[in-house]
């Protein structure tokens, strides 16, 4: 297989260590031994005119990229193929381009025009893919082009193109965040879109660009809720997460009445029955005081429409709905999510991991919900440790008085596991159960004590630590256990456990008065060999014994303190010094001495064993931040419920005036209804009359936008014939689909009014009754509709009749240009203004020969597609310079140079000038060449300012306006500017514009407007400039041109000229 070969070759060629050479291609490793040579080979293949070779080369290059190897030096060779006919080559070139454009910005610009052409393709999929690649090229200079393209695509007829536009928004935003305001406008527009295809993508863009603009959602809220079920699964996740936040800001907490219960939840669960009853009473009392809560119908709509998605096969969707219910639903309804979440536990272990984290958080707040599924959290020996520990966490959270015995029995089997981390976690869990549920405290303690005789030291150590915590609760009853533990010090080695035992004995030395000094004696003996934490506890124990039983332990304490004084660890030395001062009475000892006993043997509160998942629910569940328990970059805080509900009427969708439409239009709507997503009409019963109206008006608006859309596109879309036909065709097809009710999806929201179902069956039965009849009437409406499309723009036919004729840019045949150009605008000689000269060769570098050039703005006679460049040679040397000529022009593809005639000789001090022609192909790339004399060669480059790439044309005002009308949309670039004081008069403005660009003024009626026209030299595309003076010094500059790159650059240049 060729690809695999390419891949292996990649490996063979590089110096990958120890990788076996794949035998089947003997040439691979040997011949292309160095990177340089191999790339040369690829370049050759790319330059060939065989597609198969190009493809092969591209495959190899992509394999390199995949491997993480640098292939950037192939950029020029690859980019040339961007317009290749072979679709696979093209796609691979796109892959390459997107990967390396950022590094090779200048060269990447060469490809832009291909995509610009693609943006106007009649095929929606090509338009979309052009936009996709164009917006993926991270080159800041094309930001304005991208912006235009996005704006244009946002009003494209095809929902797929609009979807791509939505995808492009965050790309542009990350490239240039200054565009935010304009992008928000586009987002606002796309949010109003009615198709499911766009919804997910635009909400994603919204979340990335302007998540704080919650006001943009109001009008679209109901629509998003209704479309949700038909949106693709990834979009669903994004929309649900966004709506959760929205709902938190707009609706009241459904659990207001229960908030009191929640506060007491912990107590109520662990407490006795009497306590429970008491709580109930207080709660009931508080209920009476509050005014009754009524859920906003929009809030209900959201809950109802998301519920079916719990059945999604996509775990992310299920989780999104689950968190929505957890954060938004009334307590009584949250339970429904448990079943779905438990189902996810059957999925991949990564999914389990995330779901369990969330379940752990939920199970603290809403324990009841998972109780029926207790057994689903039982642990299997085959589970990975991290899953086991999370399940343990959930089981512990779920433990209560009724199920604790089952859980403890389960825990007992876990302790026998071979996975030691898990065993340790289980012991901790038992400890937590014991502290939380008083009833089983003794049972747990006994169980743990039994574990003290376990053969595994880790188990014993962990048990000691947990027992220590438990004993703190009621030490008096457990002196036996303390004694038992004291004996363990002989054997147990784990430092944490030893420290815990010593602490216990010290703390409760009164309960074990005989053993304690003995333990201290043993520890003093081994003091030097202990770990630091153990040493600290030994000092502690010594101090406490000294205070309670100084007779027996005085000497021992002195001894231990002396040892500690010379310890290596400064912490221990510090502690020893501190304690000695505190407990051993000396003359100097301070006032604290008499309080020593109080200090050391104070009553200490028992530790509270808490879940690490407590209070994690202040993060939105299911989010990355929740999982990490830390705020991730870009995390949107989940707002608290408002105290007062904001005005719900903001979500009402207003009815545009002209919905009071004629009967014919009404019929149209009916036909169209199934077309605009069947979920449209599904507004549930609670939504009441107003939403019914709303949905009709949606339709009308959508219909209008189709009509308006075609209309506004008319002037700019070259493939008009094709695009024009498509809307009606599309609709026709949809109409057919609508007829066959069956294939339509009718997955609708959970509870639906029966009346609607009735209507569906009704219509289908009437269809079957009079099948042909219905069809006929339908086609009738169809034709009518088409008629309206046509009649809505009476000029259209005529317009695109001459459209092809005038606008030369879209015609692929260059031979047609001269004819076209001569037929319409006349090229006129330039308007002259101050000439700017540029230096080609400085006197110093040229060893006396200096060369300057300027753009003479005269037509270049031998070839009208060339820009005339006047070159001036001056000989500043003492000797004659002979044979001045140009050689070896290095030009980018398409560029041509008409060299000047060789200058035979140039006497000292003499100056001469020649004219040469360069065809820059309408790009500002420099023409590079060598300048030769009889002795030397110099390197020279001529780079034209964009204003020199054009020649002025003469036009009347009417012609100008007509042409301008055709160059709107993508081809129009508008920029605002402030004119400085020096540049207010007509004369200066005209002069400055004409100096910046080779254009001619178009006569103009209005005195606050200036118009200029030119055409580019190579392709003859029109460039129209309009400068409109507004109030004060403000002005607006508009450039209309097929060539967007030129247009963009020209705007920049002119503004610079005007404002300087």
């Amino acid at each position: 297989m060729s690809t695999s070969q390419a891949y292996n070759e990649e490996k063979g060629g590089s110096s990958s260590l120890g990788e076996p050479e794949y035998g089947h291609d003997p040439a691979s490793g040997g011949i292309f031994s160095s990177d340089y040579k191999r790339h040369d080979d690829l370049k050759e293949m790319l330059d060939s005119n065989k597609d198969s070779l190009k493809l092969e080369a591209m495959k190899r290059i992509v394999a390199m990229i995949a491997r993480g190897k640098n292939a950037s030096d192939l950029f020029p060779a690859v980019v040339k193929n961007v317009a290749c006919k072979n679709i696979e080559v093209k796609k691979l070139v796109y892959v390459y381009l997107v990967r390396y454009a950022e590094e090779q910005q200048d060269l990447a610009l060469l490809s832009i025009s291909t995509f610009q052409r693609g943006l106007k393709d009649p095929n929606q999929l090509i338009r979309a893919s052009a936009l996709r690649v164009l917006s993926s090229i991270r080159v800041p200079i094309i930001v304005p082009i991208m912006m235009l393209a996005i704006k244009e695509a946002a009003s494209d007829m095809s929902p797929y193109v609009r979807k791509t536009a939505a995808h492009a928004i965050p790309k542009l935003y990350s490239l240039d965040s200054d565009q935010k305001d304009q992008l928000i406008e586009v987002i606002e527009k796309l949010l109003a879109d009615k198709t499911t295809l766009v919804a997910g993508s635009v909400v994603m863009a919204f979340e990335e660009v302007c998540p704080e603009r919650i006001d943009l959602i109001h009008k679209n809220y109901r629509k998003l809720c209704n479309l949700l079920i038909d949106v693709e699964e990834w979009g669903q996740v994004v929309i649900i997460n966004m709506l959760t936040r929205y709902a938190r800001t707009q609706f009241l907490s459904p659990n207001q009445n229960e908030s009191l219960l929640e506060e007491n939840a912990e107590k109520a669960f662990y407490g006795s029955d009497e306590e429970d009853a008491k709580d109930d009473k207080t709660e009931a009392a508080s209920l009476v005081k509050r005014k009754p809560y009524v859920m906003d119908p929009d809030h209900r709509l959201l809950l109802r429409n998301t519920k079916p998605l719990l059945q999604s096969r996509n775990a992310a969707v299920v989780m999104a709905v689950a968190q929505l219910y957890f954060h938004l639903a009334p307590k009584a309804e949250v339970g429904v999510i448990a079943k779905a979440l438990v189902r996810l536990l059957r999925s991949h272990s990564e999914v389990q991991y995330v779901v369990l984290q969330n379940v752990a958080t939920m199970s603290i707040k809403r324990r009841g919900m998972f109780e029926p599924y207790l057994k689903s959290f039982y642990i299997r020996s085959t589970d990975p440790t991290q899953i086991k520990i999370l399940k343990l966490e959930v089981l512990t959270n779920l433990a209560n008085e009724t199920n604790i015995s089952t859980i403890l029995r389960e825990f007992q089997t876990y302790i026998r596991s071979m996975d030691k981390d898990f065993v340790a976690a289980t012991i901790q869990a038992i400890g937590r159960c014991a502290t939380n549920i008083g009833k089983v405290r003794d049972t747990c303690l006994n169980g743990l004590v039994q574990l003290l005789s376990n053969r595994d030291e880790l188990v014993v150590a962990e048990s000691v630590v947990v027992i220590k915590k438990l004993l703190q609760m009621q030490p008096s009853q457990h002196s036996e256990i303390i004694k038992h533990m004291a004996k363990l010090t002989d054997n147990i080695q784990v430092p944490m456990a030893r420290a815990s035992i010593l602490w216990l004995i010290g703390e409760y030395c009164e309960h074990v008065p005989k053993i304690a000094p003995d333990v201290l004696r043993k520890m003093a003996k081994s003091f030097t060999n202990e770990e630091d934490i153990v040493k600290l506890q030994v000092i502690n124990l010594a101090a406490k014994l000294y205070l309670t039983n100084s007779k027996q332990s005085k000497l021992l304490t002195q001894y231990v303190l002396n040892l500690a004084k010379y310890d290596q660890n400064y912490d221990i030395r510090d502690r020893a010094r501190f304690i000695r001062q505190l407990i051993v009475p000396t003359e100097k000892s301070g006032a604290l001495n008499k309080y020593a006993k109080k200090l050391f043997l104070a009553q200490k509160p028992a530790p509270i064993l808490e879940s690490s998942f407590k209070d994690r629910d202040h993060f939105q569940l299911g989010s990355l931040s929740h999982l990490l328990n830390a705020k991730a970059v870009g995390y949107q805080e989940l707002p608290d419920w408002p105290d007062e509900a904001p005005d719900p009427s903001v979500r009402n969708v207003e009815v545009p005036e002209w919905t009071k439409c004629t009967s014919r239009e009404k019929r149209k709507e009916k036909v169209e209804k199934p077309f605009y997503s069947d979920s449209e009409g599904e507004s549930g019963p609670t939504e009441s009359a107003d939403s019914g109206e709303g949905s009709i008006c949606h339709d009308v608006r959508a219909w209008a936008s189709v009509a308006v859309g075609t209309d506004s596109l008319t002037p700019s879309l070259p493939g008009q014939h094709l695009t024009l036909g498509s809307p009606s065709e599309e609709e026709e097809e949809e109409g057919k689909k609508a007829k066959k009710k069956k294939p339509q999806r009718d997955r609708e929201g959970g509870s639906e009014s029966s009346s609607e179902e009735g209507s569906v069956s009704e219509s289908s039965s009437s269809e079957s009754d009079s099948g042909s009849d219905a069809e006929e009437s339908q086609s009738e409406t169809e034709t009518k509709r088409r008629k309206t499309v046509k009649s809505s723009d009476p000029n259209r036919d005529q317009r695109h009749g001459d459209f092809c004729f005038i606008c030369p840019g879209i015609l692929p045949l260059p031979s047609l240009y001269p004819h076209l150009i001569s037929s319409v605008p006349q090229v006129i000689s330039p308007v002259f203004s101050s000439v700017k000269t540029y230096e080609l060769l400085h006197r110093m570098t040229g060893e006396g020969l200096s060369v300057e050039y300027y753009f003479s703005r005269q037509p270049f006679a031998p070839d009208p597609h060339m820009v005339a460049v006047q070159i001036q040679f001056s000989n500043n040397t003492d000797s004659e310079v002979k044979n001045v000529r140009i050689s070896e022009p290095k030009l980018l593809s398409g560029m041509r140079v008409q060299e000047f005639k060789e200058i035979e000789s140039l006497a000292p001090g003499e100056t001469t000038s020649v004219v040469m022609g360069i065809d820059f192909c309408d790009s500002t790339q420099a023409a590079n060449f060598q300048l030769c004399t009889h002795t030397r060669q110099f390197y020279g480059a001529i780079q034209p300012p964009v204003g020199e790439l054009m020649a002025p044309v003469f036009m009347s005002e009417n012609e100008f306006k007509k042409e301008q009308g055709k160059l709107t949309g993508m081809s129009e670039i508008t920029e605002k500017l402030t004119l400085p004081e020096t540049c207010q008069s007509d004369h200066t403005i005209v002069q400055r514009v004409t100096s910046a660009a080779n254009v001619s003024r178009v006569p103009c009626g209005a005195d606050n407007e200036y118009r200029f026209a030119a055409k580019t030299v190579t392709s003859g595309s029109l460039v129209l400039i309009t400068l409109e003076k507004k109030e004060g010094a403000l002005a607006q500059l508009t450039v209309n041109s097929e060539k967007m790159v030129i247009g963009t650059m020209l705007v920049k240049d002119i503004i610079q000229a005007l404002t300087q």
Binding site: M1, S4, A6, Y7, D51, A66, R67, I87, E88, K91, L92, V95, E102, N123, S135, S136, T164, H167, A168, P170, K171, S174, M204, D230, E232, E233, W234, V237, P308, Q311, S312, A316, M319, V342, R343, R346, H348, S349, E350, V351, V355, S376, Y378, S381, T382, Q386, T413, R416, M418, N454, L624, A630, A632, V633, Q636, K742, P743, D746, R747, G750
Partner: protein, 424 residues
């Protein structure tokens, strides 16, 4: 959302990288390797790792780590689910999702990834759409391609994305129209030593293979739909029909797909089709122990239990095992301490038995734990929950399709823990 993706094999080589936004250096994976080292076991690598500038979300599938780089807040499940979808797609395209398969088809892999994500946001993840965009490699096609120089990239652009049934491509044609449904049920169970069930549950899926021309509209009904407690659907299924009539009504995708997965309500008692009698004992102060396991059929509704495999993770102290199997063969891996007994079919007349001596490390203390037994099995022609497909109707097309339903019951996670047995 998803910034970059790195594919890493078990030996820590990054063998593929793809970036959807600006390029992230491979060195970001060092954090992953660090976590991997700490985790010891591959399955204990945390799926989400936080690094100073990025977050890494990874999955482990078929000996490959799919490590994605994230820069901003995103639901972790979103990424995990997507990565699994990528792995599924590779599986679907190349027959296996392995390092070699990916390396052999690196260009197709790249093209797929390009289509599946745009700027890190999922674009086309439906297998039917992808297959129209990029044709899966077959031997025949690769031969033809190498001769004619044609490509794997479809030259017609797919229309599926534009329709409101994005999972089905248009213009499907078959000479033989067939629709097959496999009802596969798995029993998850934990059984304790005495043979009583600690936990048992039936999980099922219906996998379909639909090769029907045109735009067929199918409805599948069950004899006893109430058995299904919790169901998750392929997006093609009309939810409302299910809610109201308990009928699965859908326009199917073309080819293989999972129609639904379900859980049988836990109220129903689960019939456990096999039982295990086991006696594993280690004597105090001796370097050997006894091992005796018998497996027998139970409540199998007259069907044969086959493909029985038992695996046991023996305690660390076990050196080797000398056993005799009355049926099938056994292996013991002294490194991982895993005993595998491939039993095969169970015949009630002669119950399979495995017994013998366990040799322990001398001097090691007596292993305290009776290891848990994991059991795999299969029963053909039976859905253990009793679920039965009633009928399949087709609307929208004229021809008569060939229809077939197959039932299989398997052990899912079937385990006998510690002193108990687990099926799985």
């Amino acid at each position: 959302m998803i910034h970059s993706l790195f594919l890493i094999n078990c030996s820590g080589d990054i063998f593929l990288e793809k970036h959807w936004k600006s390029v992230v250096s491979q060195s970001v994976c060092d954090y992953f390797f660090e976590a991997q080292e700490k985790a010891v076991d591959v399955e204990n690598v945390p799926p989400v790792i936080s690094t100073p500038h990025h977050y890494l979300i990874s999955i482990y599938r078929d000996k490959i780590f799919f490590v994605s780089v994230i820069q901003t807040e995103v639901p972790p499940l979103f990424v995990i689910e997507f990565l699994h979808r990528v792995a599924d797609t590779f599986q679907d395209y190349f027959g296996e999702c392995s390092e070699t398969a990916i390396k052999d088809n690196v260009v197709i892999v790249y093209e797929l990834l390009e289509e599946m994500l745009d700027n890190g946001f999922p674009l086309a993840t439906e297998s039917n759409i992808l297959k129209e965009l990029i044709k899966p490699p077959t031997i025949l096609r690769s031969v033809v391609n190498s001769i004619t120089g044609s490509s794997n990239v479809g030259d017609t652009l797919p229309t599926g994305q534009l329709s409101n049934i994005p999972w089905r491509r248009a213009g499907v044609k078959y000479t033989n129209n067939e629709a097959y449904f496999d009802v596969i049920e798995e029993i998850d169970a934990i059984i304790d030593k005495s043979g009583s069930t600690v936990f048992a549950e039936i999980q099922g899926v219906i996998d379909s293979c639909i090769k029907l021309s045109g735009m067929p509209d199918l409805s599948l009904s069950f004899m006893n739909p109430r058995l299904l407690d919790d169901v998750s659907f392929h997006p093609c299924i009309r939810f409302k029909r299910w809610e109201s009539e308990r009928v699965l009504s859908f326009i199917p995708p073309d080819g293989n797909f999972r129609l639904i997965s379900y859980r049988v309500s836990s109220q129903n008692l689960v019939a456990i089709p096999v039982y295990v009698k086991h006696m594993i004992s280690f004597k105090e102060n001796s370097s050997s122990g006894r091992f005796d396991v018998t497996i027998g059929p139970k409540q199998n509704m007259g069907k044969t239990v086959e493909g029985v495999v038992m695996t046991v993770h023996m305690p660390k102290a076990v050196l080797n095992m000398n056993l005799t199997a009355s049926q099938g063969s056994y292996t013991f891996d002294p490194v991982t301490k895993v005993l595998t007994w491939d039993v095969g079919k169970i015949t009630p007349q002669k119950l399979p038995n495995l017994k013998g001596i366990v040799n322990l490390q001398s001097g090691a203390p007596k292993p305290e734990e009776n290891p848990s037994l994991n059991i795999q099995f299969k029963i053909q022609q039976l859905a253990i929950s009793g679920l039965k497909v009633n009928r399949l109707d087709m609307y929208g097309e004229k021809y008569k399709p060939f229809k077939g339903v197959k039932y299989i019951t398997k052990a899912g996670k079937f385990q006998s823990l510690g002193s108990r047995i687990v099926l799985g």
